[in-house]
Symmetry: C2
Subunit: 324 residues, 2 copies
């Protein structure tokens, strides 16, 4: 993590980083900083760890000094403008919920990854924040995904697709059948902000061209993302062995996923978590802050979810405060 | 389909094929056969089609002349030793259920694909037969997958893994949490026939090395399989463009999946369904019949699922008859 932070600081000369973690580890990290970078690094000590085997929500509630919880507090208290975590997704989601709360109209957050598909980027969500969503929650995630695509893909009217086992209506499981009509109605009510193209299949995520936003539950999305990455790893190794330096570029998977539905910029690192991955996550968070992404996202989301006839909301940054 | 059948007939000189379908299409297919092959092709006319938009179970029950239903009847009546279908998976599963019934102890069938993973083949199931399984059904599918791996992978004690969003105990959704302990108990009771290695993640399917059998629900398995194939398609196109004839071989996905839990050999074609894919499915079915795979599979499955203390079952081919 520290190596990744140093890489990010070198690349981005106006970046400041707060290292959150056990005091000795953070101080060692600070000590590893070359002098010119050190002025842009501070330390927030946090000694408790949420173990991979613990139930995240219980652990985060019980441990006031948990690293990821303290990190979310720096965001809530405006000591930082974004959080980057390369730890357990479940712990990050739980800490964001406990410390930051959620945006109005969002019962559970979603983790969104931008897939570099062949026919253009695709927002895939949820890739693991909410493994057991209800239909209601998935409808909220649809609006989160569309708002995010309108900001980061700069697509005027994104095409939403619902991931299923076939493209024909009625395919999939009971959850997908309950969603299909509701998503069509949501698109109709969006006054052209997005269109709903119906069901899409697994191959449409890496190939693209069918939908700009692909909606699924956090269980399936997580398995799909990791499965696609596994194939990329496999092919990367095969092509490097076979062709050496002349190997064709195999597209990398997304290294950073954005937690949507919480009031603040939270980037969840994904994959093996080497230094370069951490640096990419930090750069992604910094770019989001500089571009005012979270504010624009909030405006898009409110516009999508306000009832017809509601007054246009006043522009403004969503509050960062404890909302349950 | 007809081109694929011709290819299979040319490759396999003792293969006989019954073409099931609308009379004119089947007769045209027969007419397309060169004279020496024609003696090994017969036609079973079936005029009704299960549309992609129809609910498969209702359609198959309502249409006695549905192609896939007539195909299953040729198997039930011993006019064929295996069925190959490249149509709707849902219709194939429904027709197998209506016409053939299911093996004792199996409430819902599973579709198994053998993934050519980097570290050795992996049986992935269910890839789409049962999108909404209960925990009880998934425990049955675990035994189906282990029995299949013992036959087709020739692994003495396959390692079973449960697909989830993380490898640590407790990860995943409510269904996975209900299963983890039951699968451990199943392995303990199997007297060494297989081991249960706990949770595995998406990347472990293409990379292999962690489990020989990866168990999941038919919704997730279908999305994962198609997603991985999408990446393979993508990379295949990229490498062919970049490197021409010198492109490294990108592993192909499985073309044929085996329907497990029904009394008979049913191969479900998968993917784009070009002639070569159909030929591969026919070849897979023929190989399964010649190797007595279904009989050996049935013995393995019965041994795994009989209660401790039950007498060793007599050897024999599982009955092909209507069982509800």
């Amino acid at each position: 993590v520290v190596d990744g932070v140093l890489e990010a600081l070198r690349t981005d000369p106006t970046l400041h980083v707060v290292l959150v973690g056990p005091e000795r580890v953070a101080e060692d990290g600070l000590a590893a900083c070359p002098e010119p970078l050190r002025t842009r690094v501070s330390v927030a000590p946090a000694g408790q760890v949420v173990g991979m085997e613990e139930r995240p929500v219980w652990a985060v509630r019980a441990k006031a000094g948990a690293t990821v919880r303290v990190a979310m507090e720096t965001l809530r208290d405006a000591a930082a403008e974004a959080v980057v975590t390369a730890g357990s997704t479940g712990a990050a989601v739980a800490a964001a919920h406990v410390v930051l709360g959620s945006l109005p109209g969002v019962h559970r957050p979603a983790l969104a990854a931008v897939i570099p598909a062949a026919a253009g980027p695709v927002v895939l969500l949820d890739v693991g924040a909410t493994p057991d969503p209800t239909a209601e929650v998935l409808v909220q995630h649809a609006s989160l995904g569309v708002a995010y695509a309108r900001v980061v893909l700069a697509v005027g009217a994104p095409r939403l697709g619902l991931l299923s086992t076939g493209a024909e209506q009625g395919r999939g499981d009971a959850l997908r059948r309950r969603l299909d009509e509701r998503l069509a109605a949501l698109a109709d009510a969006s006054r052209g902000a997005f269109t709903y193209g119906g069901l899409v299949e697994g191959q449409h995520v890496p190939l693209g061209g069918v939908a700009d936003v692909v909606l699924t539950d956090g269980f399936t999305g997580n398995v799909l993302l990791k499965g696609m990455e596994g194939v990329v790893t496999l092919v990367r190794e095969a092509t490097t062995e076979a062709a050496g330096a002349g190997a064709p570029a195999v597209p990398a998977g997304p290294r950073a996923a954005m937690l949507l539905g919480v009031p603040g910029t939270v980037v969840v690192g994904h994959g093996a978590g080497r230094a370069a991955d951490v640096a990419a996550c930090v750069a992604r968070a910094a770019a989001a802050v500089r571009d005012g992404e979270h504010q624009r996202f909030g405006e898009e989301f409110r516009a999508l979810t306000r009832a017809p006839g509601d007054p246009t909301p006043t522009r403004g940054r969503p509050d960062i405060r404890e909302v349950r």
